[in-house]
């Protein structure tokens, strides 16, 4: 989460973008941020005021090239945004793969405000849909539940579960989600806590609150929201609050006390960034020894997520896992877990008994049964693709073995046409549009570079 940026830094940030010579490393990231802000609002500082953010940037960054067209300038702008994201994508080795998260959604009147187009409600809903998908993409073994706050009440919209489709279907019917009344932060949190109480206290418990209104109407009585806060803290429920309206004391203190993040969204794009920041599994260092069994495994990985302690030699444990055979939907057969006739299902590789769903423990032989793709999802953490290096003109001149991108086979701009001077070399942006993999020495275009690092996680050159 970017920190407040002092105005001063901002100024010089802007005017060094004006001149084209190479900037120093410290301002680099800021600059990236700025450019990002232009190209789809990547990495704006929440502290910066919207009007500053928008105006100055859009004028200052874009430069006309001598031909007077903005093309090149804009191009490089986008390129920079991309490069920045690619550079950010180096991942720590260990992450907690198994998470539980409640998304608490504010459905108060304020959600109907039109400061986001068409309404806050629409926008948030749209984002949540893709958020859930993305989240499960990166946390295959995680679970998400959804709680909504309206009319001073809170209800569990979707109980904790691992099935994105279910959640999406619920999120997609707007009629059930008509915003109304005021939110009650306290009720929401209490419900979240209740919803997660059955999980082992050591599990990675998180809540993401998208808070639209600027007040919370809590029930009066002995317990105040502060008591709730205490409970959250001791239950290690990490609470991240994103406010659409403005900074709210209680929200900030809650998220800070519980080790979560607090963010105020400047605009739609920024809101998206803030949300997406919470997707990648939190980096962890310690995995305590555990014994066989998925539930324990969950809790174990949970403890990783609770992320206490530093880099001392980590110790974990080996789990014995079986990789099942999935039966196609055919005739119905008896499943060992419920003893019901069901179609499809999985066969325990050790004892061959049929299980309805994985991951789970085989009811018969107690083996932990996990489908290998679930594990494989997280493997790209283990084999991150090396960042591709920028190729300068002379490099290409001497060693241009291919004219096309190794990934998408698009043709590179002809080197001979690029003159030294004109090509404005931003940091991390290749003047030749080529990026070379350190391992396999193949060249890639910016698109592929980004795609490979963001999504694919496999280098076409290195891959056999």
């Amino acid at each position: 989460m970017p920190s407040y940026a002092p105005a001063a830094e901002e100024i010089d940030d802007d005017d060094f973008i004006d001149d084209d010579d190479l900037p120093g490393p410290p301002s680099r990231s800021k600059k990236g941020g700025a450019s990002g802000g232009k190209s789809g609002g990547k990495g704006k500082d929440p502290g910066r005021h919207a009007w500053e953010a928008e105006y100055k940037k859009s004028w200052d960054i874009v430069q006309e090239d001598e031909s007077g067209s903005l093309e090149s300038a804009v191009e490089s702008l986008l390129a920079r945004g991309r490069r920045k994201r690619a550079l950010m994508a180096d991942t720590p080795l260990r992450r907690s793969i198994i998470r539980h998260m409640f998304i608490i959604m504010d459905l108060s009147e304020s959600m109907m405000d039109k400061d986001y187009r068409p309404t806050r409600f629409e926008v948030v809903l749209g984002y949540l849909r893709s958020y859930v998908v993305e989240w499960f993409d990166q946390n295959p073994l995680g679970q998400i539940g959804i709680i909504i706050m309206r009319d001073r009440l809170s209800e569990v919209l979707v109980p904790m579960g691992g099935n994105p489709q279910e959640i999406l279907s619920v999120l997609s019917d707007k009629r059930r989600l008509e915003p109304s009344g005021e939110p009650s932060l306290q009720n929401g949190l209490v419900m979240a806590k209740g919803g997660m109480s059955h999980l082992p206290t050591t599990s990675s418990l998180e809540t993401l609150i998208v808070f639209s209104s600027i007040s919370t109407a809590d029930p009066d009585g002995p317990t105040t929201i502060h008591n709730v806060l205490e409970d959250l803290v001791e239950n290690k429920i990490r609470t991240t609050i994103l406010s659409l309206a403005g900074e709210i004391k209680i929200c900030r203190s809650i998220s800070e006390r519980t080790g979560g993040k607090f963010g105020v969204a400047l605009d739609q794009d920024h809101l998206k960034d803030l949300m997406w920041e919470t997707i990648p599994p939190p980096a962890t260092t310690i995995a305590p020894p555990i014994t066989i069994g998925v539930r324990n495994a969950l809790s174990a990985a949970g403890k990783n997520a609770s992320g206490s302690g530093g880099g001392k030699a980590p110790n974990g444990d080996l789990m014995v896992m079986g990789f099942p055979i999935q039966l196609p939907l055919g005739g119905e057969t008896l499943c060992s877990c419920h003893g019901l006739l069901k179609r499809g299902g999985y066969l325990c590789p050790r004892c061959g008994s049929k299980l309805c769903d994985v991951p789970t423990d085989c009811e018969v032989c107690g083996l932990m049964v996990v489908s290998s793709p679930h594990l494989a999802r997280s493997f790209w953490f283990l084999f991150p693709v090396a960042n591709y290096g920028v190729l300068h003109i002379e490099d290409v001149m001497e060693s241009s073995k291919s004219h096309t991108c190794t990934g998408c086979d698009v043709e590179f701009p002809d080197v001979s046409t690029i003159e030294e001077g004109v090509a404005q070399v931003e940091d991390g942006v290749s003047p030749t549009g080529r990026y070379r993999c350190a391992k396999c020495q193949n060249d890639f275009c910016a698109d592929c570079d980004l795609y490979i690092h963001d999504t694919l996680h496999t280098c076409p050159g290195c891959a056999q």
Binding site: G81, T284, P314, P328, D447, Y451, L456, T458
Partner: protein, 436 residues
């Protein structure tokens, strides 16, 4: 608002009126060894109780033959809609190459169109032919250069897949999550207004595998799989020496990453496995997983000709029509087995590091990946568990694919074969029909 895609209810049971143009990316495995094997297949076991079938004899399949068939199929794909496109990759030992479309700097197509061929067809066919010739030539050179080892590398499926995905990512950038540059809500929100212009093409990848066994997908992963017909035992050795990282990524993990990327891009990966059961006892399970996870179609040729038929029947309909109104042919049971990081064995049961979830085939004191130390004390118990594991003979749980729906999944093999012949037609055609 013309460009609203597909599926207006038509008179006959809401069949889509139009389909988006579809791009078909084909990956051909042209590994010389595999093809030499396919060219001289062992005789098929006859079906005692179903003599009629043996009219169709085991037909040797040489690469040229197959390519002609394939071209017929690709032309049909081009024919079936305006704006349909084809991209072809060749995957040979350790290398993958784009065969079609030719790079724009290359001389475009033949000098003169033939008067009886639709020009696009002509371009496609001639170009593929050239491409294959080139690759074949390069292979020969490699042999002459005498690095026999490299020829024993498995076909570079993963490399080809990654290239294909990059290509897709280029023509349809929305698929990548680099959607930062376009209006967020427009791309995120399912019920956002449809963007203008001709509707977005749908893409699918088709992998044509000629290499038997699992060595196709997991690079050097089958020291224990004796199903490998071509002797890449020696480079298994080399693999385990040359340590995990690089090699690993080439195989299992790489393939899986591709699968997930494809899932994200909603690109089905169809798999056609040529080696008939007689050659290839165990299916290429990781390709099968890929097809399964991306909702693609997996099918194994039965070695009895009629390929063109099967291609048209199974793989021609575009994704938008596959589930409605058409039906996907019944798929087989899928073994979700994994590959261990230490010896690249294919495992039914393995030991998994609780921190980084890396998989090993035997208990070890330290995780190879994340250097996590495992408590020594637990090792004996694990050992005991390990000893307790007796691997199950595959045929009991995974029937030799492809088989009829789950109902059949543990029927005797004979029956399966018979069922398969039907299922292969995804309808109730009785026998394969030879092509004239």
């Amino acid at each position: 608002m013309a460009p609203l895609p597909s599926s207006h209810g038509s008179s006959s049971a809401s069949h889509p009126k139009t389909t988006p143009p579809s791009v078909l990316l084909v990956i051909i495995d042209i590994h010389p060894l595999s093809w030499s094997l396919l060219a001289s297949p062992p005789p098929l076991a006859p079906y005692p109780e179903h003599l009629g079938i043996d009219k169709a004899q085991a037909s040797p399949m040489t690469l040229p033959d197959f390519v002609t068939i394939l071209m017929g199929f690709l032309n049909a794909h081009l024919a079936s809609r305006w704006g349909n496109e084809v991209v072809v990759y060749g995957a040979s030992a350790g290398r993958a190459k784009l065969l079609y479309p030719p790079p724009s700097n290359a001389v475009a197509g033949p000098s003169k169109p033939r008067s009886n061929t639709y020009l696009p067809f002509q371009l496609l066919d001639s170009r593929i032919e050239e491409g294959l010739k080139e690759m074949a030539l390069e292979e020969r050179e490699r042999l002459e250069r005498g690095d026999v080892k490299s020829i024993n590398h498995p076909p570079a499926m993963v490399s080809a897949l990654t290239k294909a995905l990059c290509f897709i990512n280029r023509i349809i950038p929305n698929n990548a999550n680099s959607a930062a540059l376009m209006d967020p809500t427009a791309t995120q929100d399912p019920n956002a207004p449809s963007t203008n212009g001709p509707d977005k093409p749908e893409t699918r990848i088709m992998v044509i595998n000629a290499t038997p066994g699992e060595n196709v997908s997991t690079a050097q992963s089958d020291s224990n799989e004796n199903s490998t017909a071509n002797g890449n035992t020696q480079n298994n050795g080399e693999a385990s020496q040359s340590g995990k990282g690089g090699q690993m990524r080439g195989g299992y993990v790489g393939l899986m990453n591709c699968v997930f990327a494809a899932q994200k891009a909603k690109v089905p990966i169809d798999v056609l496995s040529l080696p008939p059961p007689s050659i290839d006892a165990s299916p290429p399970i990781f390709l099968q997983q890929a097809a399964h996870l991306t909702e693609g179609i997996y099918w194994q040729w039965n070695g009895r000709g009629g390929l063109l038929q099967y291609l048209h029947a199974l793989y021609l309909p575009p994704p938008s029509l596959r589930h409605h109104p058409f039906v996907v042919p019944p798929q087989d049971a899928v073994g979700f087995r994994a590959v261990c990081f230490c010896h690249h064995k294919t495992l039914d049961v393995g030991f998994v590091c609780s921190v980084c979830l890396s998989i090993f085939c035997e208990p070890r004191p330290v995780c190879l990946m994340c250097k996590t130390r495992f408590p020594i004390k637990s090792i004996p118990t694990l050992k005991s568990l390990a000893t307790y594991i007796e691997p199950i003979p595959i045929p009991d749980t995974v029937p030799p694919p492809p088989v009829q729906k789950g109902a059949w999944s543990n029927q005797p093999a004979e029956h399966n074969k018979k069922e398969r012949r039907k299922s292969a037609h995804n309808g109730d055609k009785a026998e394969p029909i030879e092509i004239d």
